[in-house]
Symmetry: C2
Subunit: 140 residues, 2 copies
Amino acid sequence: MDSSHPTENDPAEQPAGTASCFPATSPELDALVREIIARVADKWTMLVLEILEEHGVVRFTRLGKMVHGISQKMLTKTLRQMESDGLVLRTIHPVIPPHVEYALTGLGHSLSAAFCGVWIWAETHQEEIFAARRRFQNRS
Amino acid sequence: MDSSHPTENDPAEQPAGTASCFPATSPELDALVREIIARVADKWTMLVLEILEEHGVVRFTRLGKMVHGISQKMLTKTLRQMESDGLVLRTIHPVIPPHVEYALTGLGHSLSAAFCGVWIWAETHQEEIFAARRRFQNRS
DNA sequence: CTGCATCCCAAAGGATACTG
DNA sequence: CAGTATCCTTTGGGATGCAG
């Protein structure tokens, strides 16, 4: 925002012409959107989202086995957070032993769909990424 | 918002009928894709990505001011990681004082585009999310 | 101006034990 | 089976100081 030094004026300050899809409407909305993304782009949240998208209704213990490496503690925490955000529906069957089922809500499915682009990007460009890493590592 | 999605009480294990875009080809590829997403979905990475997408070529200190709340340490770390992943290009002008510019690579721009869907999703559904949180908080 | 190194605190997260 | 509670290790990340 400070343009008090004319000698440092870069002509390359333009938005490169690409599709800038970022809302950037108001600072508050921007902050809200970021907060939502930060929660949702969490490692475990994404994995649980994928599993539920692919398998529909899944019980707690089975879900834990399908999400590789997650601890019971984090599974519970992640599911509670997703439930509070309206992404998953938690159904308790009051029987003994307890039977609790988890499934995506409509909102959860829509998020899953929105993330498709990122998954496809990662799959498409993985070679480039690893090549870049090798290049970066081998520079002296 | 609440009546727009079908009931999720289908006990069947089939993929809910939605566009399951997840690759899920081989376990290894799946793990690689997840690793990439986990790195890229990092809080600071996303913010830096957005800033560079919107402003093109930006210098270090200015970038730090634009990414609200980031410390110099995390800015450096984030930029190094993005550089090693081939997302940003780092240009050093050997003058005194030092002059270092950062800009997105083609890969970086493509990632930015891929994230569009998530940004739009967050903006579109923020009301639903906050409503769900309120509902969850006031549960008996 | 850029950025590395250090110290230090807070948060994330795993392991284990216990409960309805 | 589906959690909760506790302990403890690891990591994230801010603050400061210094160097090129």
